[in-house]
Amino acid sequence: MKINDVKSQFPIFSKKINGKHLVYLDSSNSSQKPIKVINSLDNFYKNEFSNIGRSIHSLAVNATNKFEETRMSVKNFLNANSKEEIIFTKNATESINLVAHTFGQQNINKGDEIIISELEHHSNYVPWHYLRQTKGAVIKFAPIDENGDIIIGELKKLITSKTKIIAVTHLSNVTGTIVPIKEIVEIANKKNIPVLVDGCQSAPHIKIDVKDLNCDFYAISCHKVYGPTGVGILYAKKKWLERLPPYIGGGGMISEVGKEKITYAPLPEKYEAGTMPTAEVVAFNESIKFMEAVGIENIIKHEKELTNYALEKLKKINSINIIGNPKNKAGVISFTMKGIHPHDISTIVDEEGVAIRAGHHCCQVLHQKLNLTATARASIGVYNTKEDIDVLCDSIKKCRKVFELQ
C-alpha cells in the first residue's frame, strides 16, 4: 500500500468536525481504525459470532481458529519465540499490572528496588507503586537530561544488589524519546535483572523485535496500533509465564478444580481468565495486516518526514516551546506557548477541526521534572499528511490572535 493511499482507508477522515475536515493529531492517545478492521468486527458479529475455546460447535471452532490466528500474527509481528508467549489482556495497563502483581508476589520483598524512569506513563508507575505500598519496595527513578533522554550512566548507578526489575518505556508519549532498550537490557542482563518494556507508543511507530531486544516483558495496547479498543497484549518470555503465579482467576485459566485444590491451565490460557474480547482480538489481525501492507519501513520514513516538517514549522511560530529534543525522536510533539494555556490552545484549534491533547498526558512525574503542569501535544499517525501539519500551524497562529498576542 502506498503511503498516499493510507488516509483513504480510514472512514473517519471523510467526516467534518465543526464544519472542517478532521485533522487528527491525537494518535498517541488512541489511533483511528482502518476500514478492514471495522469490517472485520462487523462481519464477525453479523456472521460468525461465538465464544471461543469452550464450546465445540462449528461457530466456536471457527471463532477459536480466528482468535488463535491473531495470536500467531502477533507472535510474528513481535518476533516472539512462540504463541505461548503472547497473552491477550484488556489494555497495556492491565499487561503491566499483570507483571507487577505476579512478579511482585513472587520476587519482591521489603527493601527490594524497582527502577523506572522519569519518562514513565502512570500505567508504568502506579502498578509498581502498589508494591511499594504492600511490600515495602523502593522505587528509583532513572533521571532524564534536558533533552528528554534517559541518562543511561545514571540508570546504571541506580542498580544495586537489591534491584529486582527495571520497567521502562520504549517511546515517550510526551517527548517522543525513543529509548535505547537494547542497551538497557544488556546492562540489566549482566546483573540478571529482568526488564519490562512499555511498548504502548512504540508498537505503532517503530520496528519491534523482542528477540533482538531480549527484554523479558513487552506491553502493548491494540487501540493505539490501529486496532479496536478493549484489547492489550503482554509478551513475556516463556520462562517467566511458567514460573509466575496466575493473575486474574476464573473460567478458562484452570486445569482442574476441586473443593480443596485448583490447578492451572498451560500457557497462554493460564493468563486469560473469563471471556476474552473475542471479536476485538479477531479484528486486530486486520490491524497487523494493515501495518504490514503499508510496511513498517515506510511508516517510519513517512512519520519521520512529517515530524521534521512539523518541528521546523512549529519552531517558527512565536513563543512556542517544544518539550524535549531527544537524540532519537518519534512523531510525538509536546509544546507550550507563552501566555496561552494548553487547554485554551486545544479548544481553539479544535474549532479548526484539529484534535490535539492538552494536559499532563498521564506523565505527572515528567511534568514535575519539567516544572510544568500541562503541555499541548500533537502526535502523528500513519494517516497524517503535510497538509495536516499546515492546518495545525495555522490554527496555533490563530490562538495568538484570539489571545491578542503579538
Binding site: 465543526n18 501566555g339 496561552i340 494555556h341 494548553p342 487547554h343 485554551d344 479548544t347 481553539i348 474549532e351 492538552a358 494536559g359 499532563h360 505527572q364 511534568h367 503542569t373 500541562a374 484570539v402 489571545f403 491578542e404
Partner: protein, 156 residues
Amino acid sequence: MDLKQLYQDIILEHGKNPRNFGKCENHTNEARGHNPLCGDQVQIFLKMNKEKKVENLTFQGSGCAISIASTSIMTELVKGKSIESAKKLIELFLTMIKSSEETKFDECDEDEKTKIMSLSGVTKYPMRVKCATLAWHTLSSAIEGKKQEVNSESID
C-alpha cells in the same frame, strides 16, 4: 460555537491580570481545588470577620484563561459580601453554567451581572465547564471549612 463568546475581552483581561492573586494575611479559611485532567490547581484564601462577612478573598494557582479569569472574577464579586450572599452567588453561578435556562440576577447590579455573564460562553464547551467551576466549588468548600481537596472530577 463561537470562540469570541468563550474568550470575551473581560476573560482575556482577567486571565492576563488576575485580581486578588496571592495568599492573604490572617485568612480564616482555606481550600484547595484540583483538576486531575490537566493537573491544574487552585488555592483559595478567605478572611471572614466576626459579622460573617468576607473581609478578604485571594487565590493562588495555575490554570487556563477560563479558570484564572473565573477565579479572579469570583474574588472580585465575593469580596465584601456576607457569607450568605456569597453562597447565593455561588449557587447562581453554578446554575448559570450548568443549565441553559435563563438565570435570574435579581440581587446583582449591572456590573456584577456583566462579569458573571462573561463566563456563560463556557456552557457550549462541556469539557471546559470544570475549568470555570472549580474555583467556585473550592470557595464553597473553604466557607464550609471542609478538609478534603475539591476534585473537579467529582463535581457534577
